[in-house]
């Protein structure tokens, strides 16, 4: 069966199945299990209404539990076993990771990514949001800066190959260097340490639009009378921006920052498609992929390390969400 036909069939079965499940489960609950006619209609309605939320939630909870909650435990459990999965080695995989230079490099690089990518994207996003705010063509400018959001990490990596290429007739950086009189082209992706930053530029380029859209909405939400008051008091535009606007949108800046931080810890595509992790550019997600299909024990151990790094952000997010709900 061709995959396309299979796809159409899946849509039909999937959507039909969902609709059918919700409709009939609801019907059975009301007519068969707790009928509203016959004895105790009142008690039955109450009971049906207690069960119904779980009926609505069940498919989602099932999917979430199976694909996101179980793997946390499953991955941890698997990481305690050797490569073949038949011998319990306790912390052996973690000890091996710590002893591995590649792991330490990727941990360090990931640390750089986590600092510089959110910082860069938030900074440029804030800059773009503020600068385009009053412009007549601001919306066009915004949507052009926002555009890379639609581009895949692989596509973006390829796009930036035309900037970084080790050839003055392909890569713009080398073309500029040649114009300035440099003799030989350099491969910027092979310069130790700094090549990490050239890769980060790609992700910053993608994420700036996201930061800009959210921060721009937040800037619009800053009460105008605070700004007017500052103007009357003689504040210059920079003071208005840094001392009036930024403090008032600080909460949003933090949200943007953490969202991008989480993303950074998941993205392996850019490193994979540009350097393949060579030249000292490995980060944890790409390091994990180098073990995937080869050594499940190691791969799950790396994944669990990523989980540990994410956990503080996760707890903070949950606390924020609970605060908002109250």
């Amino acid at each position: 069966m061709s995959p396309l036909l299979q796809g159409v069939l899946t849509i039909v079965i999937g959507v039909g199945g969902c609709v059918g499940y919700f409709y009939f489960a609801n019907l059975i609950l009301d007519k068969v299990i707790f009928p509203t006619k016959g004895p105790n209609p009142g008690r039955n309605i109450n009971r049906a209404n207690q069960v119904r939320p779980w009926l609505f939630l069940f498919p989602a909870i099932f999917a979430l539990g199976l694909y996101l909650v179980y793997p946390v435990i499953g991955s941890f459990y698997r990481s305690l076993f050797n490569r073949a999965g038949d011998e319990f080695i306790g912390g052996g995989n973690y000890a091996a990771l710590l002893a591995d230079d590649g792991f330490r490099t990727s941990l360090f690089n990931n640390f750089l990514w986590v600092i510089f990518v959110p910082a860069g994207a938030t900074f440029f996003g804030l800059l773009a949001a503020q600068l385009t705010d009053r412009l007549k063509w601001g919306n066009i400018a915004k949507s052009l800066i926002f555009m890379p959001m639609a581009i895949s990490f692989v596509g973006a990596s390829l796009i930036w190959k035309f900037v970084y290429a080790n050839d003055a007739d392909i890569g713009m950086i080398n073309a500029v260097r040649e114009m300035l009189g440099a003799e030989n082209p350099v491969d910027v992706l092979q310069i130790p340490f700094w090549n990490n930053f050239f890769l980060m530029v790609i992700l910053i380029w993608i994420q700036t639009g996201f930061a800009m859209v959210i921060l721009s909405a937040a800037l619009r939400g800053v009460p105008e009378d605070t700004i007017e008051a500052a103007i009357i008091d003689g504040a210059n535009p920079f003071q208005i921006f840094f001392k009036i606007k930024v403090p008032q949108i600080m909460a949003t800046i933090v949200v943007v920052w953490t969202t991008i931080t989480i993303l950074v810890l998941k993205v392996f595509d850019i490193v994979y498609a540009t350097t393949g992790g060579n030249f000292g550019t490995e980060i944890l997600p790409s390091y994990m992929m180098s073990y995937m299909f080869r050594d499940d024990g190691r791969a799950t151990a790396v994944a669990f390390v990523i989980m540990l790094i994410v956990t503080p952000v996760m707890i903070w997010n949950i606390m924020q969400a609970r605060k908002e709900m109250r």
Partner: protein, 384 residues
């Protein structure tokens, strides 16, 4: 806010220039890819895409036909026009090339300027005029095959669709395009319905543990996908799904679920309480309230999630690499580009640019037509 006092026109100039600069920086890499995808492959490697509208100096090679060698006193001479050579004619169909330089070895194909007489090794001489007329002399008889002549000539800019034809017909890229669509569409549609019911329950139904569940969804938003790869692939193998389209649909559906529930719940909570309570007073059940009132009113949120999920599944590399078979006929475009094209055709810039552009064209169209919903969804997701 256009006329607030304290706005200086000098500042507004600076703002305009800064924004123009920023937009250019953000746009230029993509434009480069776009322009490159239409250029002739020889021209791509000969000049940067920013020089695409100008003629390019490319090097060619021909062969002086040894049959036409004549003896002139003690030396052997071949004369002719290099543009009449068969190999060269393939590149100059119009026959209006201009030689700028020439040479006799592939290592230095443009060693001597056109019109000069070059003294080669062994007492040979070669001269090539700008119009292509050449004269090759040698003190000894030429070998069995005529000597090579290398030259550089200006070629007019050439824009072709050849790259697109190559990408879409050869290389299985057409297959990859269909595979991407096949993965994306069910993986976008199925989670919406499942998540919408759950979001309604979390927004408008009272039951114990609701707060806890919402907190769990917020927490699951950030669980790294990497954790799920090994255990779920093992599970898929154990239950017979294996690496298949069915597997990737299930995976994408589940991975998109936290965001879907979170976005939809945030939106549904904001719907006017009156409408829902009135409906309930009038005897509507939760099921009816959901299907007849909440679902239609939530259309903007549904649309924005659908766009997110579409972009995410279309652009995904990680899940496709793990949950789809690695055989060529089931590769999606991102895998195809990252694993095949970047590896084996790393130097073929025309093919790379075109493949990348084919893969980003659909998301770009979706992005520019549905941007409104995308922005709204982003805002619902992070700003209260």
């Amino acid at each position: 806010m256009d006329n607030i006092a304290g706005q200086k026109s000098a500042l507004s100039w600076a703002t305009n220039i800064a924004v123009v600069f920023m937009v250019l920086v953000w746009l230029i890499p993509t434009v480069g890819l776009f322009v490159s995808s239409f250029r002739d492959r020889d021209q791509i490697s000969a000049s940067g895409w920013w020089q695409a509208p100008f003629s390019v100096e490319l090097t060619f090679r021909g062969r002086a036909p040894v049959e036409e060698a004549t003896q002139d006193g003690s030396i052997w001479v071949i004369e002719g026009n290099i543009f009449e050579d068969e190999e060269v004619q393939a590149a100059f169909s119009s026959g209006d090339g201009t030689v700028t330089a020439f040479g006799d070895s592939g290592r230095a194909p443009a060693e001597y300027p056109a019109g000069t007489v070059a003294e080669l090794d062994d007492g040979q001489t070669l001269s090539v005029a700008p119009d292509g007329a050449y004269r090759f002399t040698s003190p000894e008889e030429f070998g069995r095959r005529g000597p090579r002549i290398y030259f550089a000539a200006d070629t007019p800019p050439q824009f072709t669709l050849d790259n697109y034809r190559n990408v879409l017909t050869a290389d299985n890229m057409d297959r990859a395009f269909i595979n991407t669509l096949t993965v994306t569409i069910p993986a976008t549609i199925i989670p919406i319905l499942v998540a919408a019911f759950a979001a309604y329950a979390l927004a408008w139904m009272q039951f114990p543990g609701r707060g806890l569940l919402i907190a769990a969804v917020v927490g699951l938003l950030v669980v790294p996908l990497q954790l799920a790869l090994v255990p779920m692939l093992n599970l898929h193998n154990a239950i017979g799904v294996g690496q298949s389209f069915l597997g990737i649909w299930m995976a994408h559906t589940a991975f998109g679920m936290p965001l879907a529930i979170y976005l939809l719940r945030n939106y549904m909570v904001g719907l006017p309480r009156d409408i829902i309570e009135c409906a309930k007073v009038d005897g509507a059940t939760d099921f009816e309230v959901f299907t007849k009132i909440v679902l239609p009113l939530s259309f903007p949120a549904l649309a924005s999630f659908a766009i997110f999920q579409f972009l995410w599944t279309w652009n995904d590399l990680l899940v496709a690499k793990v949950f789809l078979p690695s055989s060529d006929e089931s590769k999606v475009m991102t895998v195809k580009i990252a694993d095949d094209l970047l590896g084996s055709r790393g130097g073929d810039w025309g093919i790379l640019a075109t493949a990348a552009f084919v893969s980003i064209a659909v998301p770009l169209v979706v992005f520019f037509t549905m941007q409104r919903y995308l922005v709204r969804g982003l805002l619902a997701g992070s700003v209260k």
